[in-house]
């Protein structure tokens, strides 16, 4: 499908709206569980955005890993560390004003940088999943292996941390 046209525009605005609204919900809501679920929605929104960018494989991976695994992990974490009253389990701290200002400043700088730059959009293109796979096993093989090791280490580390130290034998 072509990426120009009304459909594309509509799709973009819809998906970005969902993403940003959900993200705002993650950040502003006081209920931790609500935040966790809205996080999942955000991830799906991002997956949709990848679709509009014609990066299907990446969209699939995003939905799978992020929405399917990371969000679930987060919910498990919420569950394990739950406090008595869930409705106010995610309050803001004292730095709202400063944090808000900082975020606005960042956004301002980024917007200004983005809008002020003449992007050279001549190149770029659509990527085939097979290409990704091939590149993974040839040019990017060392980082691929490294990430594999990283995942192994993270797995072991998480298990160890969950199990606890010397107190449990």
């Amino acid at each position: 499908m072509e990426s120009t046209g009304l459909m594309h525009t509509l799709a973009f605005f819809l998906l970005s709206g969902i993403t940003l609204a959900a993200a705002a919900g993650v950040v502003f809501k006081r209920n931790l569980v609500h935040s966790a679920f809205l996080l999942s929605v955000t991830f799906l929104g991002v997956a949709g955005l990848y679709m509009t960018l014609e990066a299907e494989f990446l969209a699939a991976v995003q939905a799978l890993v992020y929405s399917g695994a990371v969000a679930v992990l987060v919910v498990i974490g919420v569950m394990l560390t739950h406090r008595e009253d869930m409705s106010c389990s995610n309050p803001p701290n004292k730095m709202i004003v400063a944090g808000g200002l900082a975020a606005l400043a960042i956004v301002g700088v980024l917007v200004w940088a983005v809008l002020g730059t003449a992007w050279n959009t001549g190149k770029g293109g659509i990527v085939d999943a097979g290409d990704i796979g091939r590149r993974f096993l040839t040019d990017f093989a060392p980082p691929f292996e490294a990430v594999a090791l990283l995942l192994l280490a993270a797995l072991i580390g998480a298990v160890v941390l969950f199990k606890g130290g010397k107190e449990q034998s």
């Binding site: 730095m95 400063a98 900082a102 002020g116 003449a118």
Partner: protein, 633 residues
């Protein structure tokens, strides 16, 4: 020239070496055997004396003169810019000094066999005396200032050791320290002078300096060199007890009496006189320095004589007498007569040593009771001592034909030629000398005996040296005079003076007047002295308290020197300490305050990092001019 003279001349370095070896052997091997220690010391000294006599014979018979001395030296230390020799310099001046030192030391050693018998430090005594003699002899033979300075210091050390010989007495220890420290002040000036000489002339050799100095003075004038000479003179001021560094000599009487006889009468204290005599080539072209020496000498002579008038302890009287006579010797040098000075050095050694040995004899007899007013009538129980002390008193007062008459006459004549006021003051000092010596003799020996004392005459070992010195006190004046002392021991052309009858007559009359006055006050009849003392209150107090010089120095030390010390301590503690402590405390305080930024709050850290990044980005944007819209990427 006979064999012995020739040998002695060429082996003059043995003269100081033999007593040094005696010192070493006694110190290492004979400390427990008094008989051996004494014999070894006396044997070494006798050998040195014999060698000195041979050397003197060589000087006389081969015509060695002050201008053409006999020098044997070897390079001791040489580096670019500095070359120091060690050696022997034999000329009439050094021969005179060596003769005096070896003779007096030998007499004192023989005397000490009897005097120090039974003392637990007997062997140590003989060892130290030997070391002292060795140092003094080496100093007398020095060829350059540095060699002289080395042995000068060594002599000072021996003085310290011997003054503090009875180290278990606090007063002796303190006296030793006082002597060393006071002479140290002088040595400081001396060393500075020597360094300046080396810098100015590049050599410290006496002969070489004697050649270079006149040329220097002709081209540069005398100002700078006078300063150097005065610095060098500070050494003799301290060592030879001139005012104001005389304060150690009376306290030095804490040492055993043979020590006083040897060191503080006859030999060590004349080291200063000898130093100036040796470097006379430097001094005699500097009129400013010569004037200073002369006037300081005559002042010292008067000052000390005035104090001696009222002292009661016999050794104190003799100590101030020594200071006074040293003033005379300095006066002689200051008016340019090296002959008179050395002559008086020799005769003074004879009669002053005799006086001290006699005093020791008395003290030995009445168990160290030193107040002459508690003695009396000793002529009956100690006749030999009495006669010999009488001879010494006559000699020191300048009564002809005894020794002191000739030497003192030379000094007075020389002074009169230069400056009449100097002559007047010197004659006044001579009058006072006669007076107080007569006072001593009358009070101690004449009159009625003190029933508390049970004196006995001293033994032969003590009387024999006294006898030798007594004989020398009689003939030791006219004999050298008639044999032409002034032809040999001189600087510059010999002025063969006959006796100036006017001066000689005047001085004899003055001395006899002194005797008469003493007899009048202290002689038969009730003691008029106490009444006189009461009437002349202030003068008596000044004299008896030594013009409060010691008290002045103590005040100075306590308030000025210690005050400076306290000030420095305060500065160190509060100024420098504040700086250093302040720096450290400031750092600590800064750290204490800064650590409050480590709150442990992760989000705060994140915020700080964010702000820092934002600022950096802004800075970069501003500085690299990327603020311009439409930049290319």
């Amino acid at each position: 020239m006979n064999l012995w003279a020739d040998f002695s001349l060429h082996h003059a370095w043995l003269i100081p070496l033999l007593p040094a070896l005696a010192f070493l052997v006694i110190s290492f091997f004979f400390l427990k055997s008094p008989w051996l220690a004494a014999r070894l010391a006396i044997a070494a000294m006798t050998a040195s004396f014999a060698l000195t006599l041979g050397m003197g014979w060589a000087v006389l018979s081969t015509g060695i003169t002050v201008e053409a001395p006999f020098v044997m030296k070897t390079v001791w230390y040489s580096m670019p810019g500095l070359s120091v020799d060690m050696g022997v310099l034999v000329d009439p001046i050094s021969a005179t000094l060596l003769f005096v030192v070896t003779l007096i030391t030998l007499m004192v050693l023989i005397y000490s066999v009897g005097y120090m018998a039974g003392d637990p430090g007997y062997c140590r005594f003989f060892a130290f005396i030997s070391l002292f003699a060795s140092s003094m002899l080496a100093m007398g033979l020095a060829t350059n200032f540095l060699q002289m300075f080395i042995f000068w210091e060594l002599v000072g050390l021996c003085s310290y050791l011997l003054i503090g010989f009875y180290f278990y007495k606090i007063s002796a220890r303190e006296a030793g320290k006082k002597a060393f420290m006071t002479t140290r002040i002088g040595d400081f000036g001396l060393l500075l002078g020597i360094l300046l000489l080396q810098m100015m002339f590049g050599t410290l050799d006496f002969a070489a300096l004697g050649l270079k100095v006149p040329a220097y003075v002709a081209s540069h004038g005398t100002a700078a060199l006078t300063g150097v000479a005065i610095l060098i003179f500070m050494g003799p001021v301290a060592k030879s007890g001139q005012f104001p560094l005389h304060v150690w000599l009376p306290d030095a009487m804490e040492g055993p009496t043979p020590v006083s006889a040897l060191i503080h009468a006859a030999t060590m204290v004349v080291a200063g006189v000898y130093l100036i005599a040796r470097s006379f080539g430097l001094f005699h072209v500097l009129p400013g320095a010569m004037t200073l020496i002369a006037w300081l000498g005559v002042f010292t002579a008067l000052f000390a004589a005035f104090i001696a008038l009222t002292q009661k302890e016999i050794k104190r009287i003799l100590a101030f007498s020594t200071i006074s006579q040293l003033g005379f010797m300095m006066l002689a040098l200051g008016v340019g007569s090296l002959t008179a000075s050395m002559f008086h050095l020799m005769t003074h050694a004879f009669f002053k040593a005799l006086l001290f040995l006699g005093a020791g004899s008395i003290l030995h007899a009445i168990h160290d009771q030193a107040d002459i007013f508690k003695m009396g009538g000793l002529r009956k129980s100690m006749p030999a001592t009495c006669i010999m002390m009488g001879i010494a008193v006559m000699a020191i007062s300048g009564i002809p034909p005894f020794a002191g008459f000739f030497s003192k006459d030379e000094i007075l004549v020389a002074a009169a030629h230069v400056s009449v006021p100097l002559y007047m003051l010197a004659s006044l000092a001579a009058f006072l000398t006669a007076f107080y010596m007569a006072r001593l003799f009358i009070v101690a020996f004449l009159g009625e005996p003190n029933p508390h004392n049970h004196p006995h005459e001293s033994g032969l070992s003590m009387l024999f040296p006294m006898g030798v010195l007594a004989v020398l006190s009689v003939i030791g004046g006219w004999l050298p005079f008639s044999l032409g002392f002034g032809d040999w021991v001189r600087f510059g052309p010999a002025h063969h003076a006959g006796i100036d009858w006017a001066v000689a007559g005047a001085s004899t009359v003055i001395s006899l007047t002194g005797f008469a006055l003493a007899w009048f006050i202290y002689g038969r009849g009730p003691r008029r002295s106490d009444a006189l003392a009461a009437k002349s209150g202030l003068l008596y107090s000044l004299s008896f308290n030594k013009f409060f010089v010691d008290e002045l120095y103590q005040w100075f030390n306590r308030n000025v020197i210690d005050g400076l010390g306290r000030l420095s301590f305060w500065i160190d503690l509060y100024v420098l300490g504040a700086l250093v402590d302040g720096a450290s405390r400031g750092t600590g305080a800064a750290g204490t305050e800064l650590r409050h930024t480590q709150t442990g709050q992760m989000q705060q850290y994140a915020a700080v990092m964010l702000s820092a990044t934002a600022i950096l980005v802004l800075l970069l944007a501003v500085l690299t001019g990327s603020l311009v819209k439409g930049g290319q990427i």
